[in-house]
């Protein structure tokens, strides 16, 4: 293998579609494996970090990162764009070229369609790849079958904006186009879902936008959960202080159906709630590839792992990190995915070198904006206790109050975590 990355990518590109042949039967092998190799699926919060840190820790391991897009857009801070505080998504968008040039990560833009655990091979839209160990960090998908009337077209009408990119822009556009005096409906699914405080930050940011630009409008939050899932006290305090009369929060209201024609959501199939804009966040599970590969456990939703190494308890040599995994007390957040990726990378390198597993230490810090100037945070330190990831007692917790300093620090949080992922 003496191909450099550029000629390799050219080769891959040529192989995939030039002849216009459908890929029937056995797909071509993309890149023959010579030495030790880890393949990483997904170039988001977890995958980029796993790929980079394995290379930082052991240059003898070849790392191939397979991501379906040629860029990644961060969900963290996307609520600020929706609220009109960020002008666009530029600051939230990263590329992968420096992971290649700085660390020698081989980046392949392709969709992973199957995983053959026994054969240590993945199938992608561009061919197959062999691996010694696989890291899967594909994020989430939606349990749309739990909402009657929901189909492939629904996100264009009632965006979820729970994967950043076109969906985020669509929700923003709908808010901008809405008349003053309109009603926004935001529906929160039952947990666990990606980013526990996310729907409430979203609510705050939409309320901020309405208050500043469309003061006669309001937002109704129908939450399937009995109460705000994360930082509840702080959100309530902030909403009372800044958004009285704008936010109508309704707990224990589960959306089970939609009426696209009337632009209604239906609570438990009966109670109709109408919105001029509907931000429908469906219930979630591990991303499709994790389902297809049989990495999902008995709950049919999430992937059980050995919590010391993030190795799947269902398939050997496959590690699942980020939102898809069941990571004990670590929430489904970008910072958790970052921390999990490093724990996983450390122990993959240990295992591939016949060394002992390194004890786990992790962190989560997650900021939520309440207004354009004030934010709140939650933090925790994690250790392994009796085989499960648990928060270290006496540490962590939420901020005492809304604060301007937290909003300032949050910006550096974003800058650092995205720089970690892209350089």
């Amino acid at each position: 293998m003496t191909l450099d990355r550029r000629s390799f990518l050219k080769l891959v590109g040529a192989g995939a579609g030039a002849a216009g042949l459908p890929l029937i039967g056995r797909a071509a092998e993309l890149m023959p494996k010579s030495g030790k190799r880890v393949v990483v699926v997904g170039g988001g919060y977890g995958g980029t970090i796993a790929a980079k840190y394995i290379r930082m820790m052991d240059k003898n391991i070849e790392v191939v990162l397979v991501e379906k897009n040629d860029h990644f857009v961060s969900c963290p801070f996307s609520n600020l764009y929706i609220g009109g505080i960020l002008p666009d998504l530029t600051e939230l968008t990263i590329k992968f070229d420096k992971l290649a040039s700085n660390h020698g990560v081989k980046v392949v833009q392709a969709e992973v369609t199957g995983i053959d655990a026994a054969g240590h091979t993945i199938t992608t839209s561009k061919g197959t790849l062999k691996y010694d160990r696989l890291v899967v960090s594909p994020g989430i998908d939606f349990r749309i079958e739990e909402i009657e009337g929901y189909n492939d077209k629904t996100p264009e009408l009632m965006p979820h904006a729970w994967k950043a990119g076109p969906q985020t822009s669509l929700l923003r556009k709908q808010l901008v186009d809405m008349k003053d005096g309109g009603t926004v409906v935001l529906s929160v699914p039952l947990g666990p879902f990606r980013c526990p405080p996310g729907p409430y930050e979203r609510t705050s940011m939409i309320a901020h936008y309405l208050k500043t630009h469309k003061p006669k409008s309001k937002i109704i939050v129908v939450d399937a959960n009995p109460d705000i899932v994360s930082k509840g006290g702080l959100f309530k305090k902030g909403w009372k202080k800044y958004y009285e009369g704008i936010i109508d929060y309704r707990p224990a209201k589960k959306v089970t159906a939609i009426d696209a024609g009337k632009m209604n959501v239906l609570i438990e199939g009966i109670e109709e709630v109408h919105g001029d804009v509907i931000n429908l966040i469906p219930p979630q599970r591990a991303a499709k590839i994790a389902q297809v590969a049989g990495l999902v456990g008995d709950d049919k939703k999430w992937c059980p792992v050995n919590q010391a190494t993030f190795e799947s308890t269902l398939h050997k040599d496959i590690h699942v990190i980020g939102d898809s995994s069941i990571a004990g007390a670590m929430p489904k957040s970008g910072y958790s995915a970052n921390s999990e990726a490093k724990i996983c990378a450390t122990n993959i390198v240990a295992l591939m070198n016949g060394r002992e597993i390194v004890g786990l230490s992790g962190i989560n810090t997650c900021y939520s904006y309440i207004t354009d100037k004030e934010a709140v945070s939650v933090a925790a330190v994690y250790a392994l206790q009796e085989g499960k990831i648990a928060g270290v007692k006496g540490a962590g917790g939420v901020s005492p109050d809304l604060s301007a300093a937290e909003a300032v620090y949050a910006k550096s949080w974003l800058k650092n975590i995205l720089t970690e992922m892209s350089t």
Binding site: Q307, A395, K415, N416
Partner: protein, 192 residues
């Protein structure tokens, strides 16, 4: 209980033989990498209000973490996080970051302020902020290339009294004007 056990194994290097997958305590790298999401890979920060930890002395980081933990030094999140680590773990992280090379930053600084700051540094601060702030005496932090907005926020905390100034620093800072202090910080930010 858990913390004590982890601290003990880390401090003594004794490996607990356990039926669980976790055989060894977290390594210094394992502990430190978790901080990098906010402080940058290997402690080199890219966010202007988040300090770089790379090449800080072991003593400086230990002292900071101790003060965060007790609440003596004000913080938003660091107090909550510092409480999650034993003294031995803090020392391991502090040593890890002290071994990383200085994270040189390219910041927009005011040339006139840098010049003024350089002379102030030499006559006032150089005994503790050694070598243009590239090193620190005992637990004095490294200032070279540190982010200007971070240093300005800390200075504001010092001046308002929310963060307590060390006695020796106070003696030097008290007679200085706001402009002098600002010049000093521009100087430190410019050092590579």
């Amino acid at each position: 209980m858990m913390m004590k056990w982890r601290g003990w194994t880390l401090a003594t290097g004794v490996l607990a033989i356990s039926a669980l997958a976790q055989a060894a305590p977290p390594s210094a790298a394992m502990l430190s990498n978790a901080c990098a999401g906010c402080h940058g890979t290997n402690g080199g920060s890219a966010g202007p209000t988040m300090p770089s930890l790379a090449s800080q002395s072991k003593e400086a980081i230990e002292a900071a973490m101790k003060k965060f933990k007790s609440g003596e030094r004000p913080s938003t999140i660091m107090g909550r996080l510092a409480k999650g680590y034993s003294d031995a773990e803090v020392s391991a992280m502090a040593e890890y970051f002290s071994k990383q090379k200085l994270h040189a930053t390219n910041q927009a600084v005011d040339a006139a302020k840098v010049k003024k700051g350089a002379s102030l540094q030499e006559s006032n601060c150089g005994r503790c902020h050694i070598e243009d702030g590239k090193e620190g005496k005992d637990d004095t932090p490294v200032m070279a290339s540190q982010w200007l907005p971070y240093m300005q926020m800390q200075m504001a905390d010092y001046l308002s009294g929310t963060r307590k100034m060390p006695e020796k620093m106070k003696e030097k800072v008290d007679p200085m004007s706001k402009e002098d202090l600002d010049a000093l910080l521009h100087f430190y930010a410019s050092v590579k």
